[in-house]
């Protein structure tokens, strides 16, 4: 696919990296030459220097025969104008814009599509905020993904000694909880993926992925580890775009404190947030943390723009007694460095953004793609079409489908209902399958399998 990316910032660069890795022709446009040079040095792509919304620049980047335009500059307005120009002047088939402002996001659906030619909107801040909120809802989880508007969730959790299922075969879960439907599509043991079977024994320290209905999640977790106490108090360091959104989203359900060092920003936060305590100060200031009783915090989120600050304040908070600490980290090298150590969870905003974009460029009718384990594994939500003749999936039982090794169908969404997959579940046309791919290599095979054969057209 020929894809033009506007903006070589964090989101743009990460996106370029992922897309290049999947064999696409990428052109990146940005005003900043040094950023472009850096990208060109690292990856196999083309760069164009210029204003991302100018028609001449877009033309130079090959907009006339591009398949897709992804506008991810810092400015909403630039992104919108670029999409509009790409659609009217160059007829680019697919146009995706990054939108940050809630004013635009709050418009009625369809407005941006009609007036600005935006096919899809991505909002990294919104994605990260949602991720954080889910992690606060499930303090035991390492990762939480929503499917079917949150009716089912895929959760990664580390098993510990003392969980009733730990040290036992997986099939015993049925004996413990006969009424509960739950699917475990993958287990990672010392970073090595396993597709579990009924007789697989869960060991302490395993990273277990399971999929269950929202209300069943606590019972499943209880099988794997001791439960945390319910989160009540949350402290957020950094009142930027993400910190502010998160506080606004959760302030009614939790006791929230936000720390920001900038006086203007903290005044603005105090104006906008009605149930949050806004503190002006440095999140790495021990005295302030002590004063605000950091030891009683259930979750501490370091969400400033600065990776190093986030790591340091998260470490400090953990040392001073915060129960669980989450750090926002942009540089992927740091993510690998800190996760699983003192810092409980490292969140990379880039990854949260790349997922939704990936679903647009894949073959087959991808509804959503989520990266797991820093991009090593993926969960796909795919719509299947056709009938038993044209499709290799529709009209078959799950056990009859020839899935590549490492891929598992975890659940099926049918008419807004969720069916947790069993070996004898029959797949119908227009179902959405939730497929877990243990590693990236098998994804093309999965895509191919789920596509409709040529006979369909």
């Amino acid at each position: 696919m020929k894809i033009i990316i506007l903006g070589a910032g964090q989101v743009g660069a990460n996106l370029a990296e992922s897309l290049v890795a999947e064999n696409n022709d990428i052109t990146v446009i940005d005003l900043d030459t040094s950023r472009l040079t850096l990208l060109q040095d690292r990856f196999d792509l083309r760069t164009v220097r210029g204003h991302a919304a100018h028609p001449s620049v877009l033309k130079q980047a090959g907009a006339e025969d591009a398949d897709m335009l992804v506008a991810v500059t810092q400015s909403d307005e630039t992104n919108l104008v670029a999409c509009r120009i790409a659609s009217t002047l160059f007829n680019v088939p697919t146009r995706i814009a990054r939108i940050r402002s809630n004013d635009f996001l709050g418009l009625e659906p369809g407005f941006l599509a009609e007036q600005f030619g935006v096919d899809d909107v991505i909002s990294p801040e919104q994605e990260v905020t949602n991720t954080l909120r889910r992690l606060i809802e499930h303090p035991e989880a390492l990762q939480v993904l929503d499917f079917a508007d949150g009716k089912v969730r895929l959760i990664a959790v580390r098993s510990y000694h003392g969980g009733p299922l730990v040290g036992h075969e997986l099939q015993e879960i049925k004996r413990h909880m006969p009424d509960l439907e739950c699917r475990i599509p993958a287990i990672y043991r010392r970073d090595h993926g396993i597709v579990p079977k009924g007789i697989t024994v869960i060991e302490p320290g395993d990273e277990v992925f399971f999929l269950a209905r929202k209300q069943d999640i606590p019972s499943v977790m209880r099988e794997l580890r001791r439960m945390e106490r319910r989160v009540k108090k949350v402290m957020i360091a950094g009142g930027g775009n993400i910190g502010r959104r998160l506080a606004a989203q959760i302030e009614r359900d939790y006791d929230v404190k936000v720390i920001d060092h900038n006086k203007k920003v903290s005044n603005l936060l105090a104006e906008q947030l009605h149930h949050t305590l806004v503190l002006q100060g440095d999140a790495t200031d021990e005295e302030l943390l002590e004063q605000e009783n950091i030891a009683s915090m259930d979750v501490f989120c370091a969400l400033t723009n600065d990776d190093e600050d986030n790591i340091m304040s998260a470490l400090l908070a953990k040392r001073m007694g915060a129960h669980r600490v989450i750090a926002l980290i942009n540089r992927s090298a740091y993510v690998d460095l800190v996760q699983g150590g003192e810092i409980d969870i490292a969140i990379s905003p880039a990854q949260a953004t790349v997922g939704p974009l990936l679903s647009k460029i894949r073959r087959g009718d991808m509804v959503a793609v989520h990266s797991l384990r820093r991009g090593a594994a993926e969960v796909l939500e795919v719509a299947v079409h056709g009938d038993a003749k044209t499709s290799r999936v529709v009209g078959r039982r799950i056990e009859e489908i020839d899935l590549p090794d490492g891929a598992t169908i975890a659940a099926i969404i049918r008419n807004n209902d969720v069916i947790i997959a069993h070996h004898d579940t029959l797949i119908e046309a227009e179902d959405h399958l939730i497929v877990f791919a243990l590693n990236k290599r098998i994804i093309p095979k999965v895509e191919k399998l789920l596509q409709v054969g040529f006979g369909f057209f």
């Binding site: 903290s266 005044n267 936060l269 105090a270 104006e271 009605h274 305590l277 806004v278 503190l279 002006q280 100060g281 302030l288 004063q291 605000e292």
Partner: protein
């Protein structure tokens, strides 16, 4: 003189206009032949001539009024109009002293409703109508004063709603021009008054009583044409009508205006005062009803509820109607009602006292300081309806609260000095400064202010004016800086 002459010029026009209001009681007097006609003839002439002469003498110094002149104009209007309004009373009741007559008319125009007259049932209908009309006009003047004029001067509870305030309250600036705003508010005021009058009539009042009590209810005054007050009818239906319209009049009239213009009740939900006004008033009424039942004042809870709701709403909204002598209740109940009157009613209503918005801000300021002790680094803006209230507004409210309490203390001491016992002295001052009307004991609901000495009467008169004009407006005129430069 250069300061006062242009103000007098404007005032003279107001006075001439005011002389026309005598026509209403005059017409009634002529229709029912109650023998008070002459009183209005003379009053019209005297008032009009006084206004015309003032205008003649000051017409050369006409100029555009400045903000500072506004304070003077407001004060002069609220003191001189009651003086002219005493004329019919003085002429018809020759034994009445000017002190008492002035108290009565100030009480009317400030919508207090404290009376010094007895034998109300025997008074000519037109005199009673005149008393009621004063309350109604006072309420009308007040709404515009509070919504349109005081915010321009930068004082008063509504200053918080000033046009500059962004966000959901932006709409509270009703129209861009004061005259248009005033017109809209008058329409609402007159419209609700008509509804109130018809309801009273339907509930069983005579047409005259319905008009008189509508005037009194809408202005949240409390004058009645019967010595017995609402016990005269002893009718739950009439009391329900009164309670409903007292509550309506206790709400900001610009909120009514917005609700009417948008044809939706959302305006009441967005108004930060309405909710707490209703909770404070009705909540206290229920608490008092329970208290009265427990104390065996009334045999059944429902009977207690009837009297508690009527009297609590009446006092809390600073009206001052009574359907029983609540002075006989155990002291907790009437004291609670009296204190409620100092903050319950909304700004921009015809009620008196500190106003709910100031009470809310004071409460939040108090809470802010407490939070600051625990969290020294916290940024804690005071908010109202989700909007940040600037600190200078908070300071103004704090100053207002201080002066308000200080004024009550000083005047209570003066009353005690002149020989009144404490409860009567305190309740008379509080009931006057809040423009409520009846106090306790000697000035309680079953008696009048007639028993006070002239000195005490003047203190109450001053208290009524101070409370009505929201203290700062009056006091600024007595500062040296005001007259300099």
């Amino acid at each position: 003189m250069s300061r006062i002459a242009p103000v007098l010029n404007v005032l003279s026009k107001v006075v001439m206009l005011f002389s026309a209001t005598f026509l209403l009681p005059l017409t009634l007097s002529w229709l029912v032949a109650d023998g008070a006609q002459r009183a209005y003839d003379d009053a019209i002439i005297v008032t009009f001539v006084a206004g015309a002469l003032t205008w003649l003498f000051t017409r050369k110094s006409q100029r555009e009024l400045q903000t500072r002149d506004g304070f003077l104009l407001v004060l002069l209007a609220w003191t001189s109009l009651p003086a002219f309004a005493t004329l019919p009373l003085l002429i018809y009741l020759p034994h009445l002293s000017f002190t008492d007559a002035y108290f009565e008319t100030v009480s009317g125009i400030t919508t207090t409703g404290a009376t010094i007259l007895t034998g109300l049932d025997a008074l000519p209908l037109s005199i009673n109508l005149w008393r009621g009309l004063l309350v109604w006009l006072g309420g009308m003047g007040l709404i515009v004063l509070a919504v349109a004029i005081l915010p321009l001067l930068g004082v008063g509870g509504m200053q918080i709603y000033k046009a500059e305030t962004p966000g959901p309250m932006k709409d509270t600036k009703l129209t861009p021009r004061i005259t248009e705003t005033a017109k809209g508010l008058y329409l609402v005021y007159v419209g609700i008054s008509i509804a109130c009058g018809l309801s009273y009539w339907a509930a069983g009042m005579t047409p005259f009583d319905a008009v008189m009590h509508t005037f009194s209810t809408m202005g949240l005054g409390g004058f009645s044409s019967h010595d017995a007050g609402f016990s005269y009818w002893n009718s739950p239906a009439i009391e329900v009508v009164a309670v409903v319209f007292m509550l309506v009049a206790g709400i900001n009239f610009s909120t009514h205006f917005l609700a009417w213009r948008h044809r939706s009740l959302a305006a009441y939900r967005l108004d930060p005062e309405v909710r707490w006004f209703l909770i404070a008033t009705l909540g206290s009424a229920v608490v008092i009803a329970i208290y009265l039942t427990v104390m065996h004042v009334y045999p059944s809870f429902f009977q207690a509820l009837r009297f508690a709701v009527f009297n609590t709403v009446s006092i809390a909204t600073t009206t001052g109607f009574a359907n029983t002598d609540y002075n006989k209740w155990p002291i907790f109940a009437p004291l609670c009602m009296l204190l409620l009157s100092s903050f319950a009613s909304c700004s921009g209503s015809t009620g008196g006292g500190m106003k709910m918005v100031r009470a809310q801000l004071l409460f939040r300021q108090g809470r802010r300081e407490l939070t600051r002790l625990v969290h020294p680094a916290a940024r804690l803006p005071v908010k109202l309806a989700g909007q940040v209230v600037p600190n200078n507004v908070i300071y103004a409210v704090l100053a207002f609260a201080f002066l308000y309490v200080f004024a009550i203390i000083i005047m209570t001491l003066l009353m005690a000095l002149s020989g009144l016992e404490f409860i009567s002295a305190f309740s008379a001052v509080v009931a006057s400064i809040n423009n409520t009307g009846p106090g306790l004991n000697q000035v309680g609901p079953a008696s009048t202010y007639a028993g006070l000495t002239d000195f005490q009467t003047w203190i109450c008169t001053i208290a009524m004016l101070l409370g009505r004009l929201e203290l700062l407006t009056v006091l600024v005129v007595f500062t040296r800086a005001f007259w300099r430069a």
